[in-house]
């Protein structure tokens, strides 16, 4: 097996973000680190829309970002801390539109290591030095200078390491133009203070060029975050040390009694005085204004606090912390100068807020203390700061959002809606912000209007009547035997005075330069002049016009039964009338469709026309005066063309799209000078003849391909892409512009007229979401009623129902959980329920709540041999403790579907003696994993009946999957020791492990492929592996398994045989679900997997050896010629082999970087691979279209 791995959707969670002027323009931009993707985001301060300008895969893990600006420079540079064992200084090259590494310095081994710097980076606010720190011990300071060419140069590193200490945070202290100082929060292993943390100042002496540990002070044992205050002339300098429940100001030379403020705490809805936890600051932002600054900090619950700092010459005199607003918990907060707050999240969507005010400063307790007498004591223990009640947004207003799939706990690929392509149903998010998301491959289509029409329309156009009009004024709908003219505007009404013929269908319609419209009907070419006069051209001999194409100055019509004759008209430049060209176009076969090329800038007419003929060819003919109607190119097609369309492509190229009668969509590049056709690609679009409609989407030319499913062919990131639209099948479409939607589409579907808009052509997936109440853990589908049963469980929090019961009678209602989060209970307490939800309406039809303190752990849908109806089985544990994992009592509950599969009723509960970690159906019975033990149950009347039991796993079973064909085999995954294949021996009623693994794998997800011998496994460290039963064992299992059952274990394992490892690949993110599925009805299956941080990836099996060799060679050549400026110093091969050497998997993301490379590098690569550039591009596109990606 040889796999080609492609990222279909990049991970959604943002771990770090910085703000600055990265492209050297006036507005501020955001640079965002999303695992392996470095992205440039733009916040439109007019509309408040967040957009992703550029996303670059850097093939390493981005751990931290900082920005600095060299004195006098026009833009900010980015320092990236990654797992590459190197520090990289990156700039955004606005001209090339990508990030380029300008400086790169290696200091250690690659990987996420304890003592190799990269976890934290901090820059001096004046841009003179950068500190890179590791989790433990190592800190390196680089002096930043200019080199001769006014670029950035890093001087040799200066070490500031301290053995036996962990580092918790690093910031650059603002000390003006004195020697740069970095503040680090450290935890000394040997410290006598019993785990107290210390704030340490490291000073870089620029004169002597060394770093000294200048000052340190003990801070609370829960201090976790530093906020640097502005210094120099703008503020008091120094840092705010955030601990659990309190914030204090510290600075070298300041008095020991530090100003300190308690963080206000939410009023507990249950009225508990103590026992609730003090808030911990998780994110912060400092905004500098002229002569002032503004600080926001966010606690775990999402509450924002405004920190006020009163300062005098000697330092800070008073600190105040006041509740500001509540938003979703963020991983990074940034305040834009234009008055916006950007909140990026690791576990949800990213939001942009506008400031409406800066919070009220009057009255109320702000937690500050004026004396500072109790400063220095441990802040974490007994802070009972002021209390507040959270409220809705008062100072902020949500203006923009980038949706992210968030943490994906579990997902399944199903086609419940009966669409062409299956949907991904994913359990996402955590706590009250979790949801069941339905992710579809396709662009999101916004439906703006739908109206019924009398009859079934064939085609539609939208045109302006006046030259000066900003938007379209008429919508023209053509029926089988009539044409309807509607006014497009506030109200849609029929227009009688348009001059267009209503009693015949319309074949083509276009506005003519200089005013007027041209309408082609089967019997005439009608030119409606602006004054209402109509000049008509009638085809000779009463022949009928079969098809036509019209442009602003040109019209071409094909005549029926003439053996492929077409008449060409041009607008007379002086007279303003259409004139028939002296010659006719002779295509040689009946013409089925016509199209005109777009008019190039500076030209008066289209240079080419495309003609589709019944003899299964497409021809390109010239239209310029010198060689008018001269044939330029002929392209054979697998079927007759149904429609043709041109579209402009990036870099001045021209593309011809051909929709064929058999549902194929063909694309060819047109040489802009000679008109020759080149680089043909074909893909399947649907079961109907493909109708092509030119349109404009997001400011660029695009073509809609309409078959049994609608597609959009457009350019994205320099490459042409064909993407499905997540919408009903359409019959015809045209570009439409109105005040509400400047770039929309007017479409006909069935007997309706629809106005649609495609706002985000860059997002390949769109999603609908159904909110859930608690962190989802698992779900199963009831295939008959098409309802999901979702298992939700939350540790140490009240569920909404529990909270309601726990509330004292006269208490105020608690704040809504979806906005303010769940209320914390105590560790060891659980809330769980099973929800039955209809994925089509989003309605919860039943909620089966478990008793207080019961954690729902696992679920399965089982069809017992002794009961005809499928039953839902849920494993529960009471008093479940996580570390070490144990419980007070546990049970397995059996539910029967009621109310036609829309509700559940409890049949019985069976006590078990350990946590039932996983459940699976097995040969008409229920298989339960209890720690290391596997137990088989059958259904009884009062409870489940134990049938067999065996110890099969080394530590604890984490995943169970029965064999797809053989009823007595199953795959058992251990939390630590990989997968083993167990066989049930009916004679002894015991499970025997037959095959196990030689390597430890902490399995989080697995899927057995259809052959039953191969399985794909995802582990906790972000690796994808494919394992296979050795051929000899597979044969023995099929013929005589009894011999295998009693073989002696080998190599310290539990079985005599080991898996053959087929493929290994480091994904870089925990795989939570794996499935083999086809992404459309006409494509071959792929291994589709979702990762915890929300990425969706596909591993495509390559069938032929030549393909595998080609991609392997291509990957190797790209690695070799990969420009150093595009990498952060992580070797690609080493990254993909981070835990185990990569095997039999080619990184498709790296191969697709070929599209973005410059011509010289491409040429070098194509020399290495011994294929032409065109060949390589075709291969890369083919593999995507073949698997419908």
């Amino acid at each position: 097996m040889f796999l080609y791995n492609l990222t279909l959707q990049a991970p959604g969670g943002v771990s770090t973000a910085i703000l600055g002027h990265f492209s050297g323009e006036k507005h501020q931009e955001l640079v965002v680190g999303r695992q392996q993707h470095l992205e440039l985001w733009h916040a439109d301060t007019q509309t408040g829309k967040l957009s992703i300008r550029h996303s670059q895969n850097v093939f390493c893990r981005i751990r931290s970002l900082a920005q600095f600006r060299l004195p006098g420079a026009g833009k900010d540079h980015i320092v990236v801390g990654s797992d590459s064992g190197a520090v990289a200084v990156v700039e955004y090259d606005a001209a090339a539109g990508r990030f380029a590494t300008v400086q790169h310095h290696e200091f250690g081994r690659s990987g996420l290591r304890r003592q190799v710097p990269g976890q934290y980076v901090a820059a001096d606010p004046k841009g003179r030095a950068v500190m890179v720190a590791a989790v433990e011990r190592a800190k390196v300071v680089y002096v930043v200078t200019r080199d001769g060419a006014a670029g950035v140069a890093l001087a040799s590193p200066l070490e500031a390491s301290r053995a036996q200490s962990a580092c918790i945070d690093v910031v650059g202290v603002d000390v003006g133009y004195e020697n740069p100082v970095f503040a680090a929060l450290e935890l000394d292993y040997d410290g006598a203070a019993g785990g107290a943390r210390a704030l340490v100042y490291y000073e870089l002496d620029l004169g002597l060029n060394h770093v000294v540990r200048r000052w340190s002070v003990a801070v609370g044992g829960s201090a976790n975050r530093l906020i640097a205050l502005p210094g120099g002339g703008d503020g008091p300098s120094g840092v705010l040390v955030c601990s659990e429940g309190a914030i204090e100001w510290r600075h070298a030379g300041a008095p020991d009694a530090a100003p300190r403020a308690a963080i206000p705490q939410r009023a507990d809805p249950l009225g508990r005085g103590g026992g609730t936890r003090a808030p911990l600051v998780v994110a912060s932002a400092v905004h500098r204004m002229k002569g002032a600054f503004f600080i926001l900090a966010q606690a775990e619950s999402g509450d924002l606090y405004k920190i006020t700092v009163a300062h005098a010459a000697g330092g800070v005199t008073r600190l105040g912390v006041r509740y500001f607003d509540t938003i979703a918990p963020a991983s990074a907060l940034r305040i834009l100068r234009a008055g916006f707050l950007f909140a990026a999240s690791l576990e949800g969507s990213h939001q942009l807020f506008q400031f409406e005010n800066l919070g009220d400063d009057d009255g109320g307790d702000d937690g500050g203390d004026d004396g500072g007498d109790d400063a220095g004591d441990d802040a974490g223990d007994d802070v009972a700061g002021p209390r507040f009640r959270p409220r809705g947004l008062a100072s902020l207003a949500l203006v923009g959002e980038v949706e992210a799939t968030g943490p994906v706990v579990r997902s399944r690929v199903l086609n419940l809606a009966g669409e062409d392509a299956p949907q991904v149903y994913a359990l996402c998010g955590r706590g009250a912000r979790s949801a069941l998301r339905i992710v579809r491959h396709g662009l999101e289509v916004a439906e703006l209007a739908v109206s019924e029409l009398p009859g079934t329309p064939r085609a539609v156009w939208a045109v302006r009547r006046r030259e000066a009009a900003a938007h379209d004024e008429l919508i023209v709908v053509s029926f089988l035997d009539a044409t309807l003219v509607l006014s497009a505007g506030e109200d849609v009404a029929e227009v009688a005075d348009s001059g267009l013929l209503a009693s015949a269908p319309t074949l083509a319609l276009h506005r003519v330069d200089g005013g007027g419209l041209v309408q082609v009907t089967p019997r005439a070419v009608r030119h409606v002049l602006p004054d209402g006069r109509v000049s008509e051209w009638l085809p000779p001999g009463g022949r009928e016009i079969t098809c036509a194409a019209a442009g602003p100055r040109q019209v071409a019509v094909a005549l029926a039964r003439t053996g492929g004759q077409a008449v060409y008209f041009e607008l007379h430049p002086q007279l303003g009338v259409l004139r028939e060209h002296a010659q006719r176009l002779q295509a040689g076969a009946e013409i089925t469709c016509l199209a005109l090329a777009p008019v190039p800038a500076g030209r008066r007419g289209a240079p080419f026309a495309a003609v589709g003929c019944a003899d299964q060819t497409v021809r390109v003919v010239a239209l310029d005066a010198a060689r008018c109607l001269e044939p330029l190119a002929v392209q054979a097609a697998p079927a007759a063309a149904h429609s043709v369309a041109f579209a402009a492509a990036p870099r001045g190229a021209l593309v011809l799209h051909v929709g064929l009668r058999n549902g194929l969509l063909m694309r060819a590049a047109v040489d802009p000078v000679s008109g020759g056709l080149d680089a043909t690609r074909t893909r399947f679009a649907g079961a109907r003849p493909v109708q092509l409609c030119p349109a404009r989407v997001a400011g660029a030319d695009a073509v809609l391909a309409l078959s049994s499913a609608p597609w959009l062919c457009h350019a994205h990131a320099g490459a042409l892409r064909t993407t499905p639209l997540s919408y009903d099948p359409l019959d015809y479409a045209a570009a439409f512009s109105s005040e509400q939607c400047p770039q929309g589409l007017v479409c006909v579907a069935g007997s309706t007229l629809r106005i649609l808009a495609i706002d985000r052509p860059d997002a390949l997936f769109n999603q609908a979401s159904i909110p859930l109440a608690l962190t989802p853990r698992d779900f199963v589908l009831n295939a008959d009623s098409r309802h999901f049963a979702v298992l939700e469980a939350e540790h140490a929090h009240y569920s909404p129902a529990q909270l309601e019961r726990a509330l004292p009678p006269a208490a105020a209602p608690p704040p809504p959980a979806d906005q303010f989060g769940l209320v914390r209970s105590a560790p060891g307490r659980w809330a769980s329920h099973v929800r039955v939800v209809d994925p089509f309406t989003g309605e919860t039809t039943h909620l089966a709540e478990l008793e207080d303190g019961h954690a729902a752990v696992s679920m399965a849908h089982v069809r017992f041999a002794s009961d005809p109806a499928p039953l839902l089985v849920v494993g529960c544990a009471a008093g479940l403790a996580l570390r070490p994992r144990r419980c007070e009592s546990a049970s397995i509950r059996v539910y029967r579907w009621a109310d036609a599969g829309r509700a559940l009723e409890l049949v019985h509960a069976t006590p078990v003696d350990d946590v039932p970690q996983c459940l699976a159906p097995f040969a008409g019975q229920l298989l339960v994993a209890l720690g290391r033990t596997l137990r088989l149950y059958d259904l009884g009347i009062k409870q489940l009946l134990r049938k067999a039991q065996s110890v099969v796993a080394r530590n604890a079973i984490s995943v169970l999957q029965p064999h797809p064909h053989a009823p007595d085999r199953l795959f058992v995954a251990d939390v630590h020791d990989s997968v083993s294949l167990a066989v049930f021996n009916h004679a002894t009623r015991a499970f025997h492990v037959v095959v196990d693994d030689a390597l430890p794998r902490m399995v989080t997800a697995m899927h057995v492929l259809e052959d039953g011998d191969t399985l794909a496994v995802g582990d906790k460290f972000g690796n994808l592996s494919v394992l296979r039963v050795p051929e000899r064992v597979a044969h023995a299992l099929d013929t005589d398994p009894s011999r295998l059952l009693h073989e002696r274990p080998r190599l310290g394992g539990s079985a005599a045989h080991k898996w053959d490892c087929v493929a290994e690949y480091h994904v870089g993110d925990i795989i939570t679900s794996l499935e083999a599925c086809a992404l459309s009805s006409a494509s071959r299956p792929v291994i589709l997997y979702a990762t915890l941080l929300g990425s969706l990836q596909a591993a495509v099996p390559l069938a032929s050896k030549s393909d595998a060799d080609f991609f392997r060679a291509l990957e190797m050549a790209i690695r070799r010629h990969w420009p150093p400026s595009a990498s952060l110093g992580r070797d690609h091969l080493a990254f993909r082999s981070a835990f185990r050497p990569v095997r039999s998997v080619v990184d498709g993301d790296l191969c697709e970087q070929y599209f973005a490379l410059d011509h010289d590098t491409r040429e070098k690569i194509s020399d290495d691979v011994d294929r032409t550039q065109q060949d390589i591009l075709k291969k890369l596109e083919d593999i995507r279209s073949m698997f419908a990606l």
Binding site: G13, L112, L187, G221, S222, L346, T775, E794
Partner: protein, 85 residues
């Protein structure tokens, strides 16, 4: 004996690369080192930190802070020298 300063260099290397191990490494030292490696990886790896935070029902920042605190003595204080092997 130590003609080329080999011993010195070795000492230096041991100091620079903790966890290298030597004949007198105790079981506690070895385990502490293993645990610190693991915890440091969990702190540095976003998806691992989120995974643990979600299971425990805590915020990622608190999970990271707790894991860093655990790095101080992941296996508890060192036992007295006589019983430490």
């Amino acid at each position: 004996m130590d003609k080329f300063g080999m011993h010195n260099q070795t000492e230096n290397l041991f100091a620079k690369h903790p966890g290298t191990g030597h004949a007198d490494t105790t079981r506690h030292q070895w385990l502490t080192n293993q645990h610190r490696d693991t915890l440091a990886h969990y702190v540095a790896d976003d998806s691992m930190a989120l995974f643990i935070a979600m299971v425990e029902g805590e915020s990622v920042a608190r999970t990271r802070s707790d894991m860093l605190q655990r790095m101080r003595q992941p296996c508890g204080p060192a036992p007295p020298a006589a019983t430490g092997t």
